[in-house]
Symmetry: C2
Subunit: 420 residues, 2 copies
């Protein structure tokens, strides 16, 4: 672990060197590190909670709203959950050196395509101390070094957690510099994002402001943890009770996260049957509804504002929902592809043909048939945890887990072959 | 096919719409298109050669050096080779919709991770008409639309070749707009590289100037077809006859391509045995040699200039070679990782342990044991052809074939599941 009293480049230089050791450490060594992290989280729980109390007692923390304070706060239970998460990651199949392809070429060369660590990964994240441990565990398991650039709101907590990781690395004989913690301002971020040849990937989590700032300055590869403008489409062949359960879950279970639904599209043939009851329940739960004219007329007295063009394109992250009536499955797909952010899209239908059309036509990281969009998540997908969720099409699409933190390498063995 | 008498955005808009049709066309339809391209290349050979003669007769073409003129020139044989290449791509396994993962999640959802087309790919390339057909064939096979932005030196040839592809698309009932040809200047390139949401990937081939220009302006995802500063390392346990054959092939068989060797590293224990004879043959073949002091003293009278820091880091693409003596395998790996461009690296050794150390330690797209670096190539690797060769670590590393032109999509089926 390193605190940036020195330059960001110096920290990265040492982390990169440590990454070479970690990349060649065997699976047992990397799993031993994770086992030690889990054990030390238990042993140091009191210190970690004291550090967290210091963060919460800081003047600035009192300015946070209750949801942000909740994300910042730790408890004995939450520290235990972190340790359990680390053990779950340790139990995953080892991805380092995994053989993806193998064949003998006409030249007689034996070609193997292997999964190998990226090298040095940097994650820039919001005031959520658990992200420190999730990201450190995923990168250690995948044989990478990591620079954690946390929020200054969580400085004490992050320091205590990173110290646990550093101790675990040292216990296993791996350089503790493989996990570095930065706490600097925007200048540090700019330096970090321009360390070409040292930083192999930077992943910004959190707000759009951070992403835009990075987009302007970054020269190292960036993977954007995504915003989600997710839709639920209720097809003409939908089970309407199921459809109601799904949109209520997708909108209400956690409105502030990226896999929550922001729009509901309903086929015209079921709009009158489906909308009044469903909109009444959404309204009763405090959801502000905006929609098109057809929705307003089918809403039977429930207050529905007029949806603007920007409403259709918005990730509200709040108790607000845009509702539209479409004349066909094709119109629903076109709407999704026009306004969606390529995160998670759902169709509710009893028709296999409609399900296939929608899953093929909707251009998104994850497409659901008869299920809530809320399932898009590394843990739910069996990846142990996630660094974030990608809506880009290159390299990683969907939850960023172990494999998404890795690259490949062709290794070819010959007996002196040369090319004609 | 479209020629840009209209705006680049309008061309891209139509190509993107066509990409949706191609993405959902079945394998037979896409293969029929390729079969027609191959057939029409034969039928239109005379027209294509006439168009190529017009390019070669242009005043500007007379200013090209012999190697560039050779790349621009077509012949009946070269057109036949193009057709054979297209048929080879048609014969490859269909990558569209390939199931990469499948499992049932604890929630009961059936998760499938599928390989799907990116959408619209743009390739910017030098005056090599065969690239027009290679790239069109790879994108059609992978269910993508493509914008080909060729060189104005090859305008007539490219127009004739793109017309063949357009006719083949139309024959199969696929919108001909799926393959568009642009011939504009730098402004068109800037517009193309900033069509966010329309262009899913742009791949620049050719010179560093083009790549730097794109790096400054591009807002769409870019994959850089790479430069190669490739090394051959002769280990203490090398078969020295084999080592000589390999470095002669890697340097001399085609010095102007990215997988040619630019540096030779020799373990100190074999330098005196290996260098005099090998350097004599390289010198006799017209190779300019630069090296360190140890090389100069081992060279026994052969002219060896002093290598500058920039020589070690250079992709000469010419009959020039930097030669160094290293004290250990570790030093060789460190040199490779310091100066190499991550393209192709080779070790010549009879030791399995040294081979493993080198293949694990050298940070490159392709690492060879006892073979020439010249094998890094999509066709040699069994990918049919390649759009280029990537040295980046994200998304694609090595030859860019069908899979590298694709993304993935999670499709999840449930029976009404919602998240707790």
């Amino acid at each position: 672990m390193a605190l940036a009293v020195e330059s960001v480049a110096a920290v990265a230089e040492r982390a990169k060197r440590a990454s070479r050791v970690l990349a060649r450490a065997d699976a047992e060594t990397r799993n031993n590190v994770l086992e030690s992290v889990a054990r030390l989280l238990g042993e140091r729980s009191e210190e970690i909670l004291a550090a967290n109390r210091a963060d919460l007692a800081d003047d600035r923390a009192s300015g946070l709203n209750s949801s942000l304070r909740d994300r910042l706060a730790l408890s004995g239970e939450r520290v235990e959950a972190m340790a359990a998460g680390v053990r779950a990651i340790a139990a995953l199949e080892d991805p380092v050196g995994e053989e993806i392809e193998s064949r003998v070429l006409p030249s007689g060369l034996r070609l193997r395509k292997l999964r190998v660590p990226l090298g040095l990964v940097a994650v820039v994240y919001e005031a959520r101390p658990n992200v420190t441990i999730d990201c450190a565990a995923l990168t250690i398991k995948s044989g990478n070094a990591i620079i954690l650039r946390g929020s200054s709101y969580a400085a004490h907590s992050n320091f205590a957690l990173a110290a646990v990781v550093a101790e675990a690395l040292a216990e296993a004989g791996v350089p503790a510099e493989a996990v570095a913690l930065l706490e600097g301002g925007r200048e540090d971020l700019t330096e970090l994002a321009t360390l070409d040849g040292l930083v192999d990937l930077i992943i910004p989590r959190g707000g759009e402001g951070l992403k835009q700032a990075l987009k302007r300055v970054a020269t190292v590869p960036v993977m954007y943890a995504a915003s989600g403008n997710c839709h639920v489409y209720v097809d003409s062949a939908a089970d309407l009770e199921m459809a109601k359960r799904i949109i209520l879950n997708a909108k209400l279970s956690r409105p502030g996260v990226c896999n929550a639904a922001e729009s509901l599209l309903v086929h015209a043939s079921v709009a009158e049957d489906f909308l009044p009851g469903t909109l009444a329940e959404l309204g009763a739960a405090g959801v502000e509804l905006v929609g098109d004219e057809a929705v307003a007329s089918a809403a039977a007295g429930i207050a529905v504002g007029r949806a603007s063009e920007s409403d259709w394109a918005s990730e509200f992250l709040d108790l607000k929902l845009a509702v539209g009536v479409v004349d066909s499955l094709e119109d629903a797909i076109e709407h999704v592809n026009r306004y969606g952010s390529g995160h998670s899209e759902a169709i509710v239908t009893g028709s296999d043909r409609a399900a296939l059309e929608f899953t093929e036509g909707a251009d998104a990281a994850a497409v659901y048939v008869n299920a809530s969009t809320r399932f898009t998540d590394g843990f739910e997908y069996g990846l142990g945890a996630e660094v974030g969720n990608s809506t880009q099409k290159l390299h990683a699409r969907g939850p960023i887990g172990l494999r998404e933190l890795m690259t490949t390498k062709y290794v070819l063995r010959g007996e002196g072959q040369v090319r004609e």
